[in-house]
């Protein structure tokens, strides 16, 4: 995927849109018509356990050929071209629109937000650009702690009030002047855990930055996280539930998602350390056994699917062992279960003990 961290100018994007449109018109007008749109296919994992797959490289793994021979292709092309027309208008008028704005322009055609999101990804791959389409997301990530930065001239001084949540900036390209005296970054899976730490004044007692994607992290959250890690060179820890969802969120931060596989190189965080929660924490911290909940059948099938991902064995075998243990024991464990001791057990005992370097992965 070209483009790396350099920002393509709107004029460059417009040229690429015109080239793409021209190629479609040419293809349609040829005598023996060869109407085909090629979209590079990216993946960041597979189920090949031999270790000989090429998922760790960031090159395209094949192509999708979109033709006029299948209805699903034609629908996908219809969506893609509609979004492309909107993007061209935004770039020409120097305006920005959100993905949700775009959805509401043709809701009966798009039907779901994910359809628009996929079209935008397709366009990024086709035009070989990264997030330079004047299409913005409404970010859902939150950050707090010992951090200060500016975005489009506006200063965000989290240090003044380290336990107050600030929204993660959406236009990461416009984030500048990053300053911090934090000693580490802590990523937490859920907003509830983030609020727990905030209520317990965690950042006042611990010089750190806490960030949450509120579930699966969106692209702005991951881009912002990657930016501050690169700028500040801080160790990064991740706290997720011990269940398939939590594990998948952990791997999203660590390896990227399949949907954004084309951009995984610039979104993944390679040095993230998983500090919990683990099944073994129940005994280690003398938590009651009822904190462990049984896995549902859906949990089990999802866990089995996770275990088949090639990067686990290859790059984080210790994470894989923990996941196998989860499946073997047939139980899961949520962060909130730590409240069995006390509400502040998480912030006063659990996290500090983990960060002493004893019980991490």
């Amino acid at each position: 995927m070209e483009g790396n961290n350099s920002i393509s100018r709107p004029s460059d994007m417009l040229i690429r849109i015109r080239d793409f449109t021209r190629s479609i018109i040419k293809g349609m007008c040829k005598e023996q018509s060869s109407f085909v749109v090629h979209i590079d296919r990216f993946r960041n994992y597979c189920t090949d356990s031999s270790g000989h797959c090429c998922c760790s490289s960031y090159t395209a793994k094949g192509k999708e050929l979109i033709t006029l021979q299948r209805e699903c292709h034609v629908h996908r092309l219809d969506v893609l071209l509609r979004v492309l027309l909107i993007v061209q208008q935004l770039l020409q008028e120097n305006k920005h629109g959100s993905k949700r704005d775009i959805f509401y322009m043709h809701p009966s055609v798009f039907r779901e937000q994910s359809v628009v999101d996929r079209a935008i990804n397709d366009i990024c791959i086709l035009l070989q650009c990264r997030h330079n389409l004047n299409v913005v997301s409404v970010g859902k990530g939150l950050v707090m702690g010992w951090l200060r930065f500016s975005e489009a001239g506006r200063i965000f001084d989290c240090i003044n009030s380290p336990n107050s949540a600030h929204p993660v900036p959406v236009n990461v390209e416009e984030v500048k002047d990053i300053m911090s005296v934090a000693k580490y970054i802590l990523i937490v899976e859920k907003e509830s855990v983030f609020q727990r730490l905030s209520n317990d004044q965690f950042c006042k007692k611990n010089q750190c930055i806490v960030i949450t994607g509120r579930g699966y992290p969106d692209v702005p959250t991951r881009r912002f996280l990657r930016l501050i890690i690169e700028k500040l060179c801080l160790p990064t820890y991740c706290l997720v539930d011990c269940d398939p969802y939590g594990f998948d969120i952990l791997t999203t931060y660590r390896f990227g998602s399949m949907q954004m596989a084309f951009d995984a190189k610039f979104l993944r965080i390679s040095n993230i350390q998983w500090i919990g929660v683990f099944i073994s924490d129940v005994d280690r911290f003398s938590l009651p056994q009822h904190c462990l909940l049984p896995l549902t059948n859906e949990d089990k099938s999802r866990t089995e699917a996770l275990l088949r991902r090639c990067y686990l064995e290859r790059e984080v075998p210790e994470w894989r062992l923990e996941l196998e243990l989860l499946l073997q024991r047939g139980v899961k464990f949520e962060i909130e279960a730590l409240s069995a001791h006390s509400l502040s057990f998480l912030s006063e005992v659990y996290v500090p003990s983990k960060l002493k370097g004893e019980l991490q992965m």
């Binding site: 449109t21 993946r43 219809d78 999101d117």
Partner: protein
């Protein structure tokens, strides 16, 4: 006999059963209208004969019905000829097929409406004589993949009459006529007695081939006819695709780019209206779609993926809640 239009046939003998009220064969010997055909081939005569048959409402009329058919171009005709060219006892077997699709308007007079709506009476000739359709030919007809031609065969029958094919969901006024003619090329001198099963297999395969050739011929000559259900769905996207592509061209602030695209489309850049651009693009798209429909089915099914789409779907089982504002994070609160 009027369908075969055999120019050299002069006399047909009929036997009167002694009906005192008059000859029952008054019309049996009828002068065939002189038809000048450039070719001397039987298939052309057969085609002409069936066209006459249809234009005269199955010969219920003496003359062409001009109210229903202002001209012959209203008929969509396809022909196919299959020959057994192998050496041996089957050599010389020929099977000709002609298929005509006609569509009557909504204001058609009741007397013009076909007797069998939604049904096709398959006319069958063997060695230049009308007869009941043979079992192998009927089997061949029912074995054809009619859905690849946008047709669904509901049922068929052949009891004591010509074979009758009944279709599902034919548009109103839409009618299909089929005639088959099987003969020996060197008739009558080359009649050979063959084992029954060998004859049946040959006739079945010849019938299938001839009918498919006729259907393909009809599709090739008439755009938008006999399209599969999938093609019809794909065609429905053409107006929207055309509108969007026209928008990408005409809303661009690069006039050179606009000129290039319009030139590719064969349009004059000056004073061009968006509707004209849309229509032009739409016609091009429809042409591509119809061309795809005419490709052999095996080519359409062998989608040239370099990356199997099933893999992508299997390995996204956990990515239901992903990216963007609409990701469902309620599980985690």
């Amino acid at each position: 006999m009027r369908i075969l239009m055999i120019p050299k046939l002069a006399i047909e003998i009929g036997i009167d059963h002694g009906d005192p009220s008059g000859s029952r064969y008054e019309d049996i010997i009828q002068a065939i209208q002189c038809v000048s055909l450039s070719s001397d081939s039987n298939i052309e005569y057969l085609k002409s004969g069936l066209e006459d048959y249809v234009l005269k409402h199955n010969h219920r009329l003496h003359n062409i019905c001009h109210s229903c058919f202002p001209d012959r171009e209203h008929l969509k005709v396809g022909t196919g000829v299959a020959c057994c060219s192998k050496s041996g006892r089957n050599a010389g077997q020929v099977l000709e097929a002609v298929i005509i699709i006609s569509q009557l308007s909504k204001s058609t007079s009741p007397s013009c409406i076909p007797v069998c709506c939604g049904k096709t009476e398959v006319l069958y000739y063997k060695d230049f004589s009308p007869c009941l359709i043979s079992r192998p030919s009927l089997n061949a007809l029912t074995s054809i993949d009619w859905k690849s031609y946008g047709l669904t065969l509901r049922s068929y029958s052949d009891e004591n009459s010509d074979a009758l094919l009944e279709w599902e969901n034919l548009p109103l006024g839409f009618h299909i006529d089929i005639v088959l003619h099987r003969y020996q090329k060197q008739y009558p001198s080359a009649i050979v007695m063959l084992p029954a099963n060998q004859k049946d297999t040959t006739e079945r395969s010849l019938t299938r081939k001839a009918v498919k050739l006729a259907l393909d011929n009809l599709k090739e000559k008439n755009a938008g006819v006999l399209l599969t259900a999938q093609t019809l769905k794909i065609r429905s996207y053409a107006p929207d695709l055309a509108r969007t592509l026209a928008g990408l061209i005409l809303s661009s602030n690069d006039s050179n780019f606009q000129g290039e695209c319009l030139s590719l489309l064969g349009l004059q850049p000056q004073k061009i209206k968006s509707e004209a651009v849309e229509n032009c693009i739409k016609e091009r798209l429809l042409s591509v779609i119809d061309l795809n429909d005419r490709k052999p089915q095996r080519n359409q099914e062998a989608t040239p993926y370099l990356f199997d789409d099933r893999f992508y779907k299997e390995h996204n089982c956990l990515d239901d809640y992903e990216e963007g504002e609409e990701a469902d994070s309620s599980l985690y609160l």
